[in-house]
């Protein structure tokens, strides 16, 4: 790895493997988005959708610039600003309720000039920052109890509650999993682990009965019994599985997947782009893509392991966890091994807020990598 570094001067060095990996994923994502939306070329009123891959390129460029910015400033500055950014994020999240544009039954977007954005996306970064800061400032070495983790858990619970109320199960799940991953780095007492298991066992049925909406429950039940309903909620899962299987070993070819081209894949540019990819490129293409995601995740762990301080390590793990959980859950959902929850595939799903968030997180990972 040292050989890759530009070493004629000391100071921050660009992490080339990470950069190349991310650029590869972004390129595949745009190419796949082109195939996914090509079905709309002659679709009359919805023909505009065929051009969203161009917007996606714009977002990646903007996101890339933000990532450079995020990488350029020493990450230790974020540590100082973490609480401020966290509070600002909460304010934006709360502002969603009175101001939001209601899209498909849930209010997630804020109008800002000509753009609408999802505060819940950017909040992912702020949550990572604030939890990292807490761990950074709490330099324990002995095993922790649950009470020791009460503060970061509470810091997570506030945005989770706000996002659940939108309602957006997928995003709140990402908060929980990402924070959980960061906290998993700490040592916990065995007794505390048992307590944790107990709390989860009690809260899951409670959440099922009182927190989840009917459509969310339906998605989970249809995941547990995929053959039960091929027309209603199970439709998405059924058709995406068919699309993937149709890809075979080598795939149907770029823009040749029939499930997508004949309009059997719903949400193929937002939540199901992986089905399009799997149908077009087959098992071979999928292994390449999954390897790229796996590389970025493992690289993040590598960066964390070499970080100078706890804040950097937590930041790297947090960014990696964000990529990991997003990609794992999204692909798992498309493959029918996870329930259908609205979680995007990093750099594959269309969406400005999602692309910017992921790229800024990767920028911060790069930041930590450049300053080990």
């Amino acid at each position: 790895m040292r050989a890759n570094r530009i070493s004629f001067r000391s100071g921050p060095q660009i992490d080339m493997p990470l950069l190349i990996g991310v650029m590869a994923i972004s390129t595949l994502g745009v190419v796949n988005l082109y195939s996914a939306t090509s079905v709309y070329i002659d679709a009359g009123q919805r023909a505009g959708i065929a051009d969203i891959y161009v917007s996606q390129v714009y977002w990646i460029v903007v996101g890339g610039l933000l990532a450079i910015l995020a990488a350029a400033v020493d990450y230790r500055h974020y540590e100082r600003l973490a609480y401020f950014m966290y509070v600002a994020g909460l304010v934006a999240l709360a502002a969603v309720f009175p101001l939001a544009a209601d899209i498909r039954g849930s209010s997630r977007w804020l109008q800002f000039g000509g753009f609408s954005f999802q505060p819940s996306e950017f909040m992912k970064i702020f949550v990572i920052l604030v939890v990292a800061k807490y761990l950074h400032n709490d330099p324990k070495t002995e095993p922790r109890t649950l009470i020791d983790l009460a503060v970061p858990l509470a810091l997570t619970a506030i945005p989770v509650t706000l996002v659940m109320a939108q309602p957006d199960l997928g995003t709140s799940l990402i908060y929980v999993l990402t924070v959980g991953t960061i906290l998993a780095m700490t040592k916990l007492q065995v007794r505390s682990l048992l307590w944790l298991a107990g709390i989860v066992a009690i809260s899951v049925p409670l959440a099922w009965n009182y927190l989840l909406h009917d459509y969310q429950k339906a998605r989970v039940t249809s995941f547990l019994d995929p053959e039960g309903d091929k027309t209603g909620t199970g439709w998405h899962a059924f058709q995406s599985k068919t699309a993937i299987g149709n890809g075979g070993l080598w795939g149907e070819g770029f823009m040749q997947g029939t499930q997508n081209q004949f309009g059997f894949l719903p949400d193929q540019y937002s939540d199901f782009p992986f089905a399009v990819f799997a149908e077009d490129w087959g098992l071979v293409g999928c292994v390449v893509l999954i390897s790229l995601y796996a590389f970025v995740c493992i690289w993040a762990i590598h960066v964390a392991s070499q970080a100078k301080d706890r804040f950097g390590a937590a930041l790297a793990i947090g960014s990696g966890a964000l990529i990991f959980w997003h990609s794992f859950f999204n692909m798992g959902m498309v493959l029918g091994v996870a329930p259908v929850v609205g979680i995007t595939l990093p750099l594959f799903s269309y969406g400005g807020s999602s692309v910017l968030t992921i790229l800024v997180a990767l920028g911060m990972l790069m930041n930590v990598s450049m300053r080990r």
Partner: protein, 642 residues
Amino acid sequence: MNFLVQRSDVGEFRRRYRWMVLVVLVAFSILIGRLFQLQILEGDVHRAQARRNIIGEIPQATSRGVIRDAQGKVLAANRPSYNVYVVPELLDLEKTWPRVVQLMGLDPAEKQELEQKIRTALAAPGGRKSQQIPLKLDVERDVVARLETHQGDLRGVDVTPVPVRYYPFGELAAHLVGYMREVDADTLAELEGRGYRAGDRLGAIGVERRWESYLRGQRGWRKVLRGIRRRHDKEQLEAKYLEEPRRLEPVPGRDVSLTIDIELQKSIERGMRGQLAGAVVVLDVRTGRVLAALSKPSFDPNVVSGGSGKKAVAEAFRRLYADPLKPTLDKTISAAYPPGSTYKPFSALAALDEKIVTPKTEVDCRGGYEYGRRYFRCTGVHRRVDLYEALVHSCNTYFYAMGERIHIDRLAKIGMDFGLGAKTGIGVNPESRGRMPTRSWYTRRYKGAFRGGFTLLAAIGQGASTVTVMQLALSYAALANGGTLYQPQVVRSIETSDGTIVQEFPPRVRRMVKVDSEHLAWIKEGLAGVVSESEGTAHNEAFPDIDMAGKTGTAQVSHVTPRGVDPDKVWYFNRDHAWFAGYAPVSAPEIAIVVLVEHGGGGGKNAVPVAARVVTDWQKLKEKRLSARATAAKPAIKRSSL
């Protein structure tokens, strides 16, 4: 920048990294494993499903075979019925609808009703408003033309042609040709696997029903790509995804040529115009082919076959079933009547055979016959009559006297020999058997008390004897042709749509009736006299030179009034049935004819003119066709000599 130097210990995290790498690897391996399962192990299943998703089969309609008469005139064919449909959601009620009303020429009441229908569909929950609803079925051609000219401005309005069975001659021979009905759920279950679908039509009665499997044809299909959005490369996509064979051509139904002569049928219809109800059958005595069969009153198969919608069909049937004259009943085949005096030739044949009478035997008719404590009446006072005169005058007394000496089973047997009281095997429409009562039948019926009077009545074709018009025509054909009893035929041949004959139906003899030719000659002499003698019961001054033989009959009806008849009209249903059964020409018979006028009164007065008129028309038709054939043959010869 010294606040940046502050460092925390990262040692606590160290031991977790390997586990995290492991979790990442395991998680993504699960995904790859699942991909392997879906794409490699189950790949074929999913690929097949993906193909099923995009490939649809559109049924290709077949066309039902045409039914023609003996001369090739079309009796049943198909025509398009232009139906107007609207999609309520797409129809602009403010702008387009008034235009549609104007173009279709709807009257205010119709407009009101249809508008209500559209508004109901619009208000209904679910997807109904986005589906086509029928606005008006079977609209006129010029309406179609007007709607099609303005199609551009009529969003949401569609005109679709649907094939409908068409009977150019309407009521003529409707019972024999038949009509179509929509297949019901029970029949559909029965016909499973034979390509019927809900909404299909099948032959309900007559030839349409009997030859359904030939007429129907076979549906084809065509594979299409479903949900195709990109139309510019449609052909390439079809070439790529649609496997051969991409279509199965529909097989058109077979055409059926009947033995019926629709011109003769028309002449019968004209002849029966003055009568309310009845039946006429004309047969070829040399083959048993049915040349014409009329059952009156009739119905219009075009209406009941459903071209103008279910409501119209239901309404038509409601009216038909309420009619006491039973228009839906095929009175030539499905109903039996007492033959009356038309049975006398057969009684006479039996008596001759038993040597009970000879042509010279005479009976003194004083207007009746005393038997036991009853007095059996004759139609008049005929004085001394021999066999010939008894037939010519239709003297009952002669036959009563004969009946006193003959066994009733012998009378029944001669009738059965000639096919009376037994099913003919014509195949179309349910057959009534009729009845030739025997001693044992009477014993069963009247609990052992057989009386000789029954035989006397049976000798004149009254009492319990019943026959169908078709049976009687066949028996007279057998009299005319010297004793050959044919199976009646309605279908001459089955052809493919291009005219190639697939199957022909040669005449089928049921039985050679054992009858002494001398006896037969005496009977035929009498039947000729019935028409030609000036006192003959079938003599008619309007047709003085008619070349026809036969026997009249006046059958008494049991005085049971059908249900639902207006009491003021009961007298009609108590009137006798008028018969004429005969053949023509006398010397070399070609056709047999039976005329039954239900409740017509006397046979001579009511049935004979019909028969005479039909026979005259038949003669004219025959001559016309002969000369037409002669002129048509000449140029053919010229051409071949060139």
